[in-house]
């Protein structure tokens, strides 16, 4: 595989891991907001315990993806940051408020403070996934120009305030919520609590299915760039089939209370969604102008970065395995 494609694989690989791990941490915020019924307090407690030891480490996958993007594909990073300044700013706002609120919540002076900070945590957990989806949707639409020149203020909104990116934002939120609910069924120690998250997972899963169809329909209606890659070729059908298979399988397993199987299938589904996006866009990184090859940094840079990546992963992967073994034995 050529170096530029290896770097792109690393980029999307870390995005996949971010979605599968960090995505669920955001999804947990959704269920914190929607905690209800006689076990609302227990639900919140479970979510907090599940997220606490791992969310910061999970969050680093996003930073890694950004770093790979700007060192291996600098023009793509510059183009995305210019055109999508507004949704990226909102994404950051969500990340900052979510992370700080989560860290602050256990140290407050009383229930009032805690309630307020919980609300900040939950609401900001909604903002970030939506904006992440919106950014992906705007890129996939093929409306992000490679030019860094100035354009009217409107253009900084039109590129993402459109039905397809917004639908993809809603889809991402649902997907992360689904993932979180499925993970939480495994982590809950109490059967009733487990069933709470089973119901929530089933609802979120069905909403995901509906939103994915809506997104696809909007994409083709708007003539999004990504559509060609999504609807033609063997590759596309293979991905659709496997993603749909994982999704249906995850829902069925969840319904049948096969918790661990559901968790594996839900994670696979999310990975396939992100991977499918990457493949549908290939060879473009930021369509319609920047391809993986045209945006790639010189060979010496890619080589050094991939070397650092290899060495870094050799240290980080065992550490990660240890972290999850300590805290996620179930």
């Amino acid at each position: 595989m050529p170096l530029d494609y290896l770097a792109a694989a690393a980029l999307f690989g870390s995005l996949v891991i971010y979605a599968v791990t960090g995505g669920a941490d955001f999804g947990g915020g959704v269920w914190d907001l929607l905690a209800s019924g006689p076990r609302a307090k227990a639900q919140r407690g479970l979510i907090a315990r599940a997220i606490a030891p791992i969310w910061e480490a999970n969050h680093v996958w996003l930073i890694l993806a950004v770093v790979i993007l700007f060192s291996a594909f600098p023009p793509a990073f510059a183009a995305i940051c210019t055109a999508l300044h507004v949704p990226l700013g909102l994404l950051l706002l969500g990340i900052v408020l979510r992370g700080s609120a989560f860290a602050f919540r256990s140290y407050g002076p009383g229930p009032d403070f805690e309630r307020r900070i919980d609300r900040v945590f939950a609401v900001s957990s909604l903002v970030s996934p939506v904006m992440l989806g919106v950014v992906v949707g705007a890129i996939a639409s093929g409306n992000v120009s490679a030019s860094l020149d100035s354009r009217p203020l409107r253009a900084y909104f039109d590129v993402w305030l459109a039905p397809f990116p917004l639908a993809l934002g809603a889809f991402t939120l649902c997907l992360f919520a689904f993932l979180a609910a499925v993970y939480l069924t495994v982590e809950a120690e109490d059967a009733a609590l487990r069933d709470d998250f089973r119901t929530r997972g089933l609802a979120a899963g069905l909403a995901c299915a509906a939103l994915s169809w809506l997104s696809l329909w909007l994409a083709s209606r708007e003539g999004a760039h990504v559509v060609a890659g999504l609807t033609s070729g063997l590759r596309a059908y293979f991905f659709h089939a496997s993603t749909a298979g994982a999704a249906v399988g995850a829902l069925a397993a969840l319904h049948a209370r096969r918790w661990r199987l559901a968790r594996a299938l839900a994670a696979a589904q999310v990975a396939l969604v992100v991977g499918g996006w990457a493949l549908a866009q290939a060879p473009y990184l930021v369509p319609p102008e920047l391809t993986i090859t045209s945006a790639a940094a010189p060979r010496s840079v890619l080589l050094a970065m991939l070397g650092a990546l290899g060495a870094g992963l050799a240290l980080v992967v065992p550490a990660f395995v240890y972290l999850f073994r300590v805290f996620k034995r179930r």
Partner: protein
């Protein structure tokens, strides 16, 4: 406000905010690990309690540091996309390495904070040491990227494009050595000083408290050597600046004329209009000596460059003076502390010294902020020294006052909340003992 000013202010606010939390993430683990080592060796419960309490404070500080650091990595592109389009490939290497160091830091901090009962004691201590090592490394890597902006290296410039990029050479640029060492010491110094000050203040009220005595002793033991080392490293850093960025040095010193045997100025407020530095106390030939270790060496003045190429002199000079005064005060306090420590055969608990330490608490952080102001404002008008102007790097996005206002508001809110919660953690729950991590 122009978009350029808004963007520069936003960057300054973001960096100035992040740096406080970043140094805490680097230096608090050292205090935790020392406390835990002492616990493992002596089995005095105060040390265990201390390690846990410091870890709690660290968890708040680290979280804010992590998210504000994420903001910065995006802001590089959101505010300076044309800088990143050119430089991203060259400085990507330290950022990639930093990413992994940060990974390890986050992973082992998770284990440290939440693993007291889940992993064996030695593994727990090792996790703390891993946090310390990776935190320090991640700080080092990021500083090399900043150093590159001061001393660009590792590429060939052909028609305004970076070619023949050598990422490792870029990382090991001329400014990296002094900047990294200066910054690492500054981290331990500023955090150590503030922790020592907090516990000194409590000891003034509760002189017999064993917990706070232990805390004060550890923090002071970290601070004293750092405060004594820093002036020496600062001298190294200043000579490096004099060699590489003579105009930055001239701005730091309010030096307008190019002359031999240049004087060192204490105080003074440089005036860019009249091109003079009034109200200064001049020490003859001292600047030439400090810049080159030769009393009669030539020091380049600001007038040697056209006005458009000069940094904002007053800010740089005043910030530099602040840093020097804080650093000197800390070093003298440390020297006194060393003498008293030797005399008292232990951490000096005399009331006047406790008061002095409490007073010196914020000086390290003030010096840190002032020092970064010198580095960053002193490099202006360049974003990449003598290669790209800051104005050329700016995003084309209009209305940058809006994100600036949001950034300022959010960081004010976060800063106050974090400070309040830490205050509570330290003072209001000081008497109560808690045995388990959050």
């Amino acid at each position: 406000m122009s978009d350029l000013t808004a963007a520069r202010t936003q960057m300054a606010v973001s960096l100035g905010f992040h740096i406080v939390f970043a140094v805490a993430g680097m230096a608090m683990p050292l205090l935790m690990v020392i406390a835990e080592s002492l616990w493992l060796r002596t089995r005095r419960p105060a040390y265990l309690e201390l390690a846990k309490r410091w870890a709690k404070g660290t968890s708040i500080l680290f979280a804010v540091g992590a998210v504000s650091g994420t903001v910065l990595s995006f802001e590089l592109g959101l505010l300076w996309p044309k800088f990143m389009a050119h430089a991203g490939a060259v400085i990507g290497m330290p950022f990639s390495l930093e990413g992994f160091a940060f990974f390890l830091e986050a992973i082992f901090l998770g284990i440290y904070l939440y693993g007291w009962e889940k992993v064996p004691p030695r593994a727990h201590w090792l996790a703390g040491s891993a946090v310390l090592a990776s935190g320090t490394l991640s700080g080092l890597f990021v500083v090399t990227a900043n150093a590159w902006m001061n001393a660009p290296a590792g590429f060939t410039l052909v028609d305004g494009k970076f070619t023949d990029i050598r990422p490792i050479a870029a990382m090991l640029n001329e400014a990296s050595g002094p900047q990294c060492v200066h910054m690492i010491i500054a981290s331990f110094l500023s955090v150590g000083a503030i922790v020592a000050a907090i516990h000194a203040a409590i000891l003034l009220k509760k002189p017999k408290d064993e917990f706070h005595r232990a805390a004060y002793g550890i923090a002071l033991a970290v601070t004293i050597p750092m405060a004594l080392l820093q002036p020496l490293v600062g001298d190294w850093a200043a000579r490096s600046v004099a060699r590489r960025q003579p105009l930055k040095l001239a701005a730091m010193e309010g030096q307008w004329e190019t002359e031999r045997g240049a004087p060192l100025r204490l105080f003074g407020l440089p005036d860019a209009e009249t091109e003079t530095t009034p109200w200064a106390l001049e020490i003859p030939k001292a600047l030439s000596f400090l810049a080159t270790h030769d009393f009669n060496a030539e020091v380049v003045g600001l007038k040697s460059a056209p006005r458009a190429d000069r940094p904002p002199v007053a800010i740089v000079h005043v910030a530099f003076q602040i840093m020097i005064f804080c650093g000197t005060a800390l070093a003298l306090t440390a020297l006194l502390g060393l003498a008293l420590w030797w005399k008292d055969r232990g951490p000096p608990l005399r009331r006047p010294y406790l008061k002095l330490v409490a007073f010196c608490g914020p000086l390290g952080l003030v010096a840190l902020e002032a020092g970064w102001t010198v580095t960053e404002v002193g490099r202006q008008p360049w974003i990449i020294y003598r290669i790209m102007r800051t104005s050329e790097a700016l995003t084309s996005m209009p209305g940058l006052a809006v994100p600036l206002a949001v950034t300022v508001m959010v960081y004010l809110l976060l800063g106050f909340t974090a400070a309040y919660l830490l205050w509570r953690l330290v003072f209001e729950t000081a008497g109560r003992s808690r045995t388990h991590a959050p």
